[in-house]
């Protein structure tokens, strides 16, 4: 009797997994023939994942090219970046493309995330797609954070210092011996008492080896599940029609990539990313000099950077970690929510991100009452 129950349990687990990861459908011919994309008013959102993938490919290619010239040492990192920018033919273009594409990749991920949420695309059986997606977002943020340090200029090192210091601040809220743990964690990450050569070596290793391994693995799973399950319905009303992914949607995807590449090329060729910041921030890092004004993280961290500046630390940490948990478990938390509710939440989140990213600086100065 009990044996039968055990078998039932195994059978149940098997069906659950099978529903999420229907590997028996893994047949190239079937996939190509059957995957379809619904047509409706939110159809444009189906392009966003593709855009992200495109920018990721650009990142891999340009990153490899930069790797040929970059030197990860404190005394030579900045000089080698300058060498790439000023001496190597097309080096400025490649480097600028890497910078622009990183920002565009994160932008498209964020929009991808918000629209996917609004369309309730995480519904059963697509939980795995969603969770790997959130993990990919975190990896991409880590890519951004580690890559920011590599040029070893003033803004890079000082922003990294501030970023890592926030980890240590958590210690203030922990009791007893636990209070020292965040500091140890920070020192493990940066490899020495303050940001220096060890930090650079570690960030370099993370940026060019560890994270690429992780992202390739997770991206593989993410794309595989998307292929297995096909596109989600996305809207409540019945779709106007279906379109075969292969060859129709993929050709449209390629067209979109073509336009994206043209835009990226135009930006990378004509608008150095540095031109938005005062130049002293891009001088080589000077450990003994004073900190120049205007140290900021990359724009995609503004959503937590400005609140950190304005609100109590514990509140922001609680908010960010809470949001992370909610995001990760969204398929289960919002299981019963209607698309209307989700759309409302998504608009709210988008609004918050937009306001903090674009007007964060103004809000900061308004609240702090300092000019600028």
């Amino acid at each position: 009797m009990t044996k039968l129950k055990g078998n039932d349990f195994i059978e149940k687990v098997r069906t659950e997994i099978d529903q999420r990861l229907p590997l028996d459908m893994l047949n190239l011919g079937d996939l190509m023939a059957h995957k379809e994309v619904p047509k409706h008013r939110m159809s444009w959102a189906y392009y966003l994942g593709g855009f992200t993938l495109f920018f990721f490919i650009v990142q891999v290619v340009t990153g490899l090219m930069l790797l040929f010239y970059y030197k990860p040492t404190v005394s030579e990192a900045h000089a080698s970046v300058e060498y790439i920018t000023h001496q190597v033919s097309a080096g400025a273009l490649v480097r600028n493309m890497h910078t622009w594409a990183s920002s565009l990749m994160i932008l498209s991920i964020l929009i991808h995330l918000i629209t996917t949420f609004a369309m309730k695309a995480f519904e059963k059986p697509r939980e795995l797609t969603w969770v790997t997606g959130v993990a990919l977002l975190l990896i991409t943020f880590t890519f951004g954070f580690t890559g920011y340090l590599l040029p070893w200029n003033q803004i890079a090192v000082n922003a990294t210092k501030i970023g890592l210091q926030t980890i240590e601040q958590v210690g203030h809220y922990l009791p007893g011996d636990l209070a020292t743990w965040p500091r140890h964690l920070r020192e493990i990450i940066q490899g020495e008492a303050s940001v220096g050569q060890s930090t650079l070596s570690r960030f370099y290793a993370i940026h060019v080896v560890v994270l690429p391994f992780l992202i390739f693995g997770l991206l593989g799973v993410h794309l595989l599940v998307v292929q297995l399950h096909g596109m989600s319905k996305g809207v409540d009303e019945p779709a106007k029609g279906q379109e075969k992914f292969f060859p129709f949607f993929i050709l449209k995807d390629f067209s979109a990539w073509g336009i994206a590449f043209l835009a990226l090329f135009l930006f990378a060729l004509c608008l150095p990313f540095e031109s938005f910041f005062p130049y002293p921030l891009f001088e080589p890092y000077d450990a003994l000099g004073s900190t120049p004004e205007g140290i900021k993280p990359e724009w995609y961290f503004f959503f937590m950077y400005y609140p950190l500046e304005l609100l109590p630390f514990w509140l922001v940490m609680l908010g960010v970690n809470g949001a992370m948990v909610v995001l990760l478990f969204a398929p289960w938390i919002f299981k019963g929510s209607s698309r209307k509710t989700l759309r409302f939440l998504a608009v709210l989140a988008a609004l918050y991100l937009f306001v903090m990213t674009v007007f964060g600086d103004k809000i900061y100065h308004l609240v702090k009452g300092v000019g600028g």
């Binding site: 075969k244 004509c270 150095p272 031109s275 002293p280 001088e283 600028g372």
Partner: protein, 229 residues
């Protein structure tokens, strides 16, 4: 036991500077060209023993005018200004560099071939074009520097003239630094062939993809039609 080589943030030199400036102007009045031969060595000596300071008036003006913060490296060789022992600062000069420095300090008239080791190419250009005398006059109303310099010269070749870069608070010697709008326009015009090339490539590709798409549509339609029959 050694001294600490630590340079203070540049805004702090300002107060000291204001008192020193008076001395300097008083000295200037005394000088006449006839005495120049006699004075140059003397003046050089005076400069060698007295601290030399950046001109924070310009720095303050740029920041106020453009909203961008700049450092001494706008005109000087070192971002912490001329004083100190770092590279491009007075403390680290060789005798030959001192000669050049002193020559630059004595260049009161425009047109002298100044190549001061504590200045960068832009700083040297300013002294060469204006002469030290005019430069010190302008110091009290820094906006006039933009009018006094040749409006066409563009040392870094980024397509934005130095004068404009001075007003924008962007570095006249860094071609990746410039007002984003102006830089975009200049680079766009400079690289128009590449852009045109890629534009055509993209248009052709889009044209091709679009036709493939239509071809497939008809192809599948025909197949469906056949199947239905």
């Amino acid at each position: 036991m050694k001294t600490n080589t630590f340079s203070p943030p540049r805004h702090q030199v300002r107060q000291e500077f204001l008192t020193k400036k008076l001395f300097y102007l008083r000295d200037l009045k005394k000088r006449t060209y006839g005495f120049l031969l006699f004075f140059v060595p003397l003046v050089s000596w005076w400069f060698m023993v007295s601290p030399v300071l950046a001109y924070p008036d310009f720095q303050a003006f740029i920041k106020k005018n453009s909203g961008r913060s700049v450092d001494c490296a706008f005109c000087h060789a070192n971002s912490n200004g001329p004083e100190g022992n770092g590279p491009g600062q007075i403390g680290s000069l060789t005798p030959e560099e001192f000669d050049r420095l002193n020559f630059a300090r004595g260049a009161f008239d425009p047109g002298r071939n100044v190549n001061s080791p504590i200045l960068n190419a832009f700083g040297n250009r300013v002294i060469r074009e204006l002469g030290k005398k005019k430069f010190i006059e302008i110091k009290n109303h820094p906006a006039d520097l933009a009018k006094a310099l040749d409006p066409k010269v563009d040392l870094d070749g980024d397509g934005i003239p130095d004068v404009q870069e001075f007003l924008d608070g962007t570095h006249p010697l860094k071609n990746t630094d410039g007002d984003p709008g102006r830089l975009f326009l200049a680079n766009f015009l400079k690289n128009h062939t590449q852009i045109l090339l890629l534009l055509f490539a993209t248009l052709f590709t889009l044209y091709g993809l679009n036709n493939l798409l239509r071809g497939f549509a008809r192809f599948f339609e025909a197949e469906d039609g056949e199947g239905g029959r």
